[in-house]
């Protein structure tokens, strides 16, 4: 309890005094100290973000939510406020701009993703329908869809004749992600789909052969199916990715991989990575059947969160951010 009281007072008062003392000692404000001492990437950007957000200056507080076009001007204002001479510190402005671009980009990405999620799937909207039919074509290029409402949708893992009811809480975001995965990562998507449909072959022991008749053994083999539904799992993974984004857990990943503002395609690439990884994880976990889905999903989520707690982590490094940024 004593520790919590101390922490409480530290958070409220002491850290400001500490900042003041450090400024006087080193001659540099907190932003400068962060840029000097921390290498570019998630560690730096997240420290800058905390510093700006908790600042007592209105300008700094509001800088995390400015429009991307106003970033340059905002940085100039901040440098003026902190009395930093841009001629002596040419790199500081550039580094701060890069950080602020990522911070603002992440916030805007949350807004864009939320907008997509809130949009319900509408069967009267021709664009939505087109996207759904394209999803079928990418996943099952050799099988024509007999009709819009048909049991065939179960073959790609929807729950009923009409996929629209499955999009529920994730709305159009679910469909966008599935389609991105099926289109851009077609080999992986088809592999995951095929695995999810085929039962696992369980090796049978000599005792079991004597105990069961052939028919019973065939049935047991079918029962021990990996058997999860591709589309429904995809929508669940979209839910997982969405929650990681909203809670800020994905900041580590995005600030490390995207030297500029994170965008929707970065989010979709992250979704593809999570689908891959979850599929591998599911096979490793070797669950009895689909009923263990929530348990396995929760374990997977905890694993990802643990990985994201490492500030140097990038889940799927498509391109490293630090090459684009300038070292101070």
């Amino acid at each position: 309890m004593l520790i919590q009281v101390c922490l409480y007072f530290y958070c409220k008062f002491l850290w400001r005094c500490l900042k003041f003392v450090m400024r006087k000692l080193t001659g540099r404000c907190e932003l400068q100290r962060i840029c000097y001492n921390t290498k570019p990437g998630a560690s730096r950007t997240m420290k800058i973000e905390t510093s700006l957000r908790d600042s007592k200056s209105k300008l700094l507080q509001t800088s995390v939510s400015v429009h991307p076009d106003a970033i340059e001007k905002t940085i100039e204002d901040i440098m003026e406020l902190k009395k930093i001479n841009p001629d002596i510190n040419p790199q500081l402005g550039i580094s701060l701009q890069a950080c602020l671009l990522q911070i603002v980009g992440y916030r805007n990405l949350i807004a864009d993703v939320e907008k997509l999620r809130r949009e319900p799937y509408d069967s009267d909207n021709p664009q939505h329908e087109e996207m759904l039919l394209k999803l079928w074509k990418f996943l099952k290029p050799n099988t024509p869809l007999e009709s819009r409402i048909s049991k065939q949708w179960c073959e790609i893992g929807f729950q009923g004749d009409d996929p629209k009811t499955d999009f529920r809480g994730m709305g159009l975001l679910g469909l966008y992600n599935l389609q991105y995965f099926a289109e851009r990562d077609a080999t992986a998507a088809q592999q995951v789909l095929s695995d999810s449909l085929h039962p696992k072959c369980r090796d049978i022991t000599k005792e079991e052969i004597s105990k069961f008749s052939k028919a019973e053994w065939e049935k047991k083999r079918m029962d021990k199916a990996i058997g999860y539904s591709f589309a429904i799992v995809g929508i669940n993974i979209t839910d997982l990715a969405y929650n990681l984004l909203i809670s800020g857990a994905l900041k580590t990943h995005f600030y490390n991989i995207a030297p500029e503002a994170p965008t929707l395609s970065h989010f979709q690439q992250t979704f593809c990575y999570l689908m891959h990884e979850f599929h591998k994880f599911w096979i490793e976990e070797d669950p009895m059947d689909i009923m263990e889905f929530n348990r396995v999903r929760e374990k997977f989520r905890k694993r990802i969160i643990k990985q994201l707690q490492n500030p140097d982590m990038a889940l799927c490094p498509h391109f490293a951010a630090s090459e684009g940024l300038i070292n101070m």
Binding site: Q4, C11, G160, R168, G169, S229, V233, N236, I290, M291
Partner: protein, 204 residues
């Protein structure tokens, strides 16, 4: 560590100190009951349970497999095992009936004729299942806010509740996500039924 979490921890410790000082002791434990919640996909099981737990039903995705929720009420806590309702999952329902003290069956009052028939068959199987046939049933006719929703009388007739469920304890409640009060009332009735059963078991 954020300010908010520290303040919350602070407040909770204050509350505990206050109770200790006033010699109140720890808050009394409420009885807990294990229930199983079944119904077709899209009937609204996850949304209703989320709302009862004061969570937002907005981000609910289809339940694949099952999930357990502890739903708190004033005089009891219900540990509800909610099972997904998709075709490929329903065959596993009976695996989870063991140890249940009550059943919540949710149906979509505005579903198609085919779906309603499937729901009826599932409800009948549950009513007759050896592990569930003596337990109290709470049947929720959900989605009453939709224009195509059938009334309680129609549902009662279609599902043949009077003849089939004779001798069993059941409650049929029309409900929708907008009307939480009616829903909470029906749960209070269910809790009464569960308490009665508990007392019966003690007397025997």
């Amino acid at each position: 560590m954020s300010d908010l979490r520290i303040t919350e921890a602070f407040l909770y410790m204050d509350y505990l100190c206050f109770r200790a000082l006033c010699c109140k002791g720890p808050p009394p434990a409420r009885p807990e009951y294990d229930l199983v919640c079944i119904g077709l996909t899209g009937s609204g099981k996850t949304s209703l349970l989320s709302k009862l737990c004061s969570e937002s039903p907005e981000n609910v995705v289809s339940t694949t497999g099952f999930s357990i929720k502890a739903v708190p009420f004033q005089n009891a806590i219900l540990n509800v095992k909610e099972l997904g309702g998709a075709d490929n999952i329903r065959k596993y329902w009976s695996r989870y009936y063991q140890g249940s003290q009550g059943v919540i069956f949710v149906l979509d009052s505005a579903s198609s004729e085919d779906d309603l028939e499937t729901a009826r068959n599932e409800l009948h199987s549950a009513l007759q299942h050896p592990q569930l046939c003596t337990l109290p049933f709470l049947i929720l006719a959900n989605h009453q806010d939709k224009p195509a929703a059938r009334s309680v009388q129609e549902i009662k007739k279609y599902f043949e509740l009077e003849p089939l469920a004779r001798g069993k304890r059941w409650i049929l409640q029309p409900c929708s996500l907008d009307d939480m009060d009616a829903l909470k009332d029906s749960f209070s009735q269910l809790i009464n039924l569960l308490e009665e059963k508990d007392h019966e078991a003690l007397r025997m």
